[in-house]
């Protein structure tokens, strides 16, 4: 069989929702993803309250000079191996903030990213697909 560490990570990815200065739209869609309608606990996905328990960070929002050190700190606090998944177009390419003096994204300049999920905001189905793609890459 494969590496049990990877198997465990695939079968029970606990996600921590890291809202880094987003407009809240993606956050609301993430909450929708965790409702009984989509029932992601079928795949072992559980929302946890502390980055110490997390296996996947769902990052939302355009990265800026204020939020960058905080995001990096949360990333460093997360036990490895961990996935980082960017949710929303802002994480991919700064989106409508691309000409802003304050936007310093995208995220993969600063830390390893496993998937980007475009959309403003992305639908929950798109997020499930993104997480599945990120996990199957392991």
């Amino acid at each position: 069989m494969k590496d049990p560490r990877i198997w465990g990570l695939k079968k029970s990815p606990w996600v921590y929702h890291l809202a880094a200065a987003s407009c809240n739209n993606c956050d609301i869609e993430i909450l929708e993803l965790l409702t009984p309608r989509y029932d992601v606990e079928r795949f072992g996905i559980v929302l946890v309250g502390s980055p110490r328990h997390a296996d996947a960070l769902l990052v939302t929002g355009v990265i800026n000079r204020k939020s960058l050190p905080r995001v990096l700190e949360v990333y460093e606090q997360t036990p490895k191996p961990c996935l980082v998944i960017g949710v929303g177009s802002c994480t991919c390419n700064n989106h409508v903030f691309r000409n802003s003096y304050n936007a310093v994204g995208p995220y993969d300049k600063y830390m390893p990213m496993h998937a980007y999920i475009p959309g403003c905001p992305p639908k929950p189905e798109a997020m499930i697909m993104g997480v599945v793609k990120a996990l199957s890459k392991l």
């Binding site: 465990g8 606990e41 079928r42 502390s50 110490r52």
Partner: protein, 316 residues
């Protein structure tokens, strides 16, 4: 020679009963999540989900926060596991080998059941996290809240045994004797004081397991899993294993002291009924505040417990 053999058998019993308890506990964890999913009209996780969770946590990196008291932080989770393993030996012996129980094991169990809460408080205080500190203080308050009605409720079976002519105090605090007494005279549950005691013990189990409405120390939405906030990897797995073992042992304890013990295999149904009842209480109640919980245990359940004790003295 004989002492050696006895020692080996005891060690074997210890390892076997704690292993069995962990396995059953993880399956029950799945039952808990499945029933919760059904209540919320969902499908729920597959049966191996708790095993996958534990495996993943055991193989993951364990972060020790800067400035934490390292030794206490790492060894506090083990305290809970050890306490629950000892509880498993004592409880299983009292049920399946009535002669194997010793005088006073009821009192030993009361102390052992207090240790997981102590382990959580120690670990949280050692982690140097203010949120964990808030959680630890809530856990401590909750402990003092539920312990009083719990003790009062457990006096009921003891009094019932002692009140019977020809029985000594030593028989009342011996689990094997409690089980044998119930198998001869019918479970304590089938009386007014027994019902009151069972309700109190059930609600105290809910609080000891840290389930809603008494998950105040771990409130995910307000203090981010509180006491466990700094725990990761294998240490978090240890706390989850402790919780899984408690989820087996607390309902088993309720059956042992009040509902006739594990007399035959029908007792499995009693056991599952209690587990599902606990899960349903968990799923249909909001979280209480710590002061509300304290008031509930001290000013509602404790007087009820006193009433139960008086009724038990009167023979009801």
């Amino acid at each position: 020679m004989i002492a050696w053999e006895r020692g080996w058998r005891l060690a074997l019993a210890f390892v076997a009963s704690s292993m069995v308890t962990v396995l059953i506990g993880l399956v029950l964890n799945w039952v808990d999540r499945l029933v919760s999913a059904r209540v919320q009209w969902r499908k729920g996780p597959p049966f191996f989900q708790p095993f996958a969770d534990i495996l993943k946590l055991l193989l993951k990196q364990t972060v020790i926060p800067a400035g934490a008291a390292r030794t206490t932080f790492v060894f506090a989770p083990l305290l809970g596991i050890v306490a629950m393993s000892l509880t498993a030996v004592v409880l299983l012996f009292a049920n399946f080998n009535t002669g194997g129980s010793f005088v006073g094991d009821l009192i030993v169990l009361l102390y052992l059941f207090a240790l997981p809460a102590l382990a959580v408080i120690m670990g949280a205080s050692a982690s140097r996290n203010p949120i964990a500190g808030v959680g630890a203080s809530r856990e401590m308050t909750l402990y003092f809240a539920y312990e009083l009605p719990f003790l009062l409720a457990l006096l009921v079976p003891v009094i019932k045994v002692i009140n019977t002519p020809g029985k000594l105090v030593a028989d009342g605090i011996r689990l094997g004797q409690l089980v044998a007494f119930q198998q001869a005279n019918g479970p304590f549950l089938y009386s007014i004081s027994g019902v009151i005691a069972a309700v109190i013990v059930l609600l105290c189990i809910q609080a000891k397991l840290g389930f809603v409405p008494f998950d105040i120390a771990e409130a995910e939405q307000e203090i981010m899993s509180g006491v466990l906030v700094e725990y990761s990897g294998a240490t978090l797995a240890a706390f989850r294993i402790t919780r899984a073992m408690m989820f087996v042992l607390m309902p088993l304890f309720l059956i042992t002291v009040l509902w006739g013990g594990f007399a035959n295999w029908w007792a499995v149904l009693k056991f599952l009924a209690i587990v599902v009842l606990i899960v349903l209480i968990k799923n249909t109640n909001p979280r209480l505040r710590i002061d509300q919980a304290l008031r509930f245990f001290w000013f509602i359940l404790a007087p009820l417990g006193i009433i139960a004790v008086v009724l038990a003295y009167a023979g009801l």
